[in-house]
Amino acid sequence: MRTNRTTTMVAILTTAFTLACVGVFLLLYVNLRTAAGWLQDDVKIMVYLDDRLAPDSVVEVEQRLRGDRAVASLLFFSKEQALGEFKAQFPSESHLLEGLGQNPLPASFVVALSPSFRSPDAIKRWAERVRQDSGVSKVDYNQDWIDALATVIRSIELVAIGIGVILSAAAVTIIANTIRLTLFARRDEIAILRLIGATTSFIRVPYLLEGAVLGALGSALSLAMLKFMYELFRQQMRTMGRFAGLDNLIAFFPPSVCLALVAVGMGLGVAGSFVSMRRFGEAKA
């Protein structure tokens, strides 16, 4: 590495910028996944009861729901409570209901499902099943929103994978070119080593290590840049009134992921070295 200090620095910086671009998408993806997880955990399913249902039957429905292993918690919402809630949320529209004479809003159970039943598919299946039950008029939950978010996450996942693959290939190429310059500068030395009986691994290991160090440093630097941008972004959010509080919800990569990313950088570096040595032929003697 000492032979081409400038080239090495440029390679580390370019690798860092390249991996930082991948990192931005990864960070966005990880945070959206977390947010989606929270929303999924927070899904409340409204089980609306038939308006003509006798109080005994309401208890029956409640018992049936309580006995369901998918149900984690249950809250009864009477017709009166529903009306009160409506008036509280839409005060200017409350006269619409007064004109009807009687309360048209149905009683309902607000159901939260157990963690193992919170996937979009499981929620859907559960809702379909309960919808058929006697005394239930309608089952409602904010599935559209969840589906939309899932689609967005899937798209970001695809973009992140695509960009990740392209930019990783770019990082491999950058490191490969740097190693090739080193190999070129040391071609005489390599040829001599071959002539005096050095094995291929004896010759290759230092260059593979150089690639690994370049990749790891590039990756570590990209994480430092990302962390800096992340803190800057959080600070901006804090100062912007509308997003105050949201800054605590976004998170940086946990240490284990940071280590994994450095390892990935190292792997890309080794791959770059390998590609370069294969092409260069290690100054065959």
Partner: protein, 222 residues
């Protein structure tokens, strides 16, 4: 120690070696003579597995070099020391480090490296230059360092390709004497040269190549 059986090699349309057959026994000192382009360097490169013949078989120290696997080549080269006309020393490494290189690639301990390098430098008479860089040495000294590097790990064969090509007659004599000393210790020595002065000084078996063909053998008796 070295055996060539009907060896031929062609580069594009040019014949480098044609049906060459000879044998060199253990402990022999052989001169490989011939003008530039006669095929001497090609032959030496074949002996260390750097080139493969198109036809024929080559054996070095009972190893068939023609069928050797690439992974075995380094181990062959550890038994065959090589001396070059242009010395091929690493310019940024000291004399000691240059000579230590063959031992380093074999994973020899630092204590043994120190001992063996010192012995080799003493044998060629440049022990006092051990800490200098090659650029600070005379051409004769550089060639001595190159020879020290070739013998440091006790090879069974020493190959030298035009080792006196860059040296004046006085230095040529010194280097030839060194080869004789190395040979006297039991190492088979093959020197490729076009210099008649070397032939006169060596007075040993001579193999002559001309346009890739081996001419009838002659022995110079001194």
């Amino acid at each position: 120690m070295i055996q060539l059986i009907h060896v031929s090699k062609q580069y594009d349309q040019r014949l480098a070696l044609s049906d060459v057959t000879f044998e060199i026994g253990k402990g022999e000192f052989v001169l490989l003579m011939g003008p530039s382009g006669a095929g001497k360097s090609t032959l030496l490169r074949m002996l260390i597995g750097a080139e493969r013949p198109d036809e024929g078989q080559i054996f070095v120290h009972q190893k068939n070099v023609t069928t050797i696997r690439p992974s075995e080549v380094p181990y062959l080269r550890r038994k065959v020391g090589t001396v070059f006309q242009d010395f091929r020393l690493l310019p940024k490494k000291s004399v000691f480090d240059n000579v230590a290189l063959p031992l380093l690639v074999q994973g020899v301990s630092s204590a043994d490296i120190r001992r063996k390098v010192t012995e080799a430098l003493r044998a060629v008479g440049v022990e006092h230059k051990r800490d200098q860089l090659p650029a600070g040495l005379s051409t004769g000294e550089q060639q001595r360092v190159c020879i020290a590097r070739a013998i440091v790990n006790g090879p069974v064969v020493l190959l030298a390709d035009e080792p006196t090509g860059n040296l004046d007659p006085a230095l040529t004599s010194e280097i030839i004497e060194l080869f004789k000393l190395i040979n006297a210790r039991g190492t088979t020595v093959v020197v490729a040269t076009h210099d008649p002065l070397v032939m006169m000084q060596v007075n040993r078996r001579v193999l002559t190549l001309s346009q890739g063909r081996l001419l009838p053998e002659q022995r110079v008796m001194g």
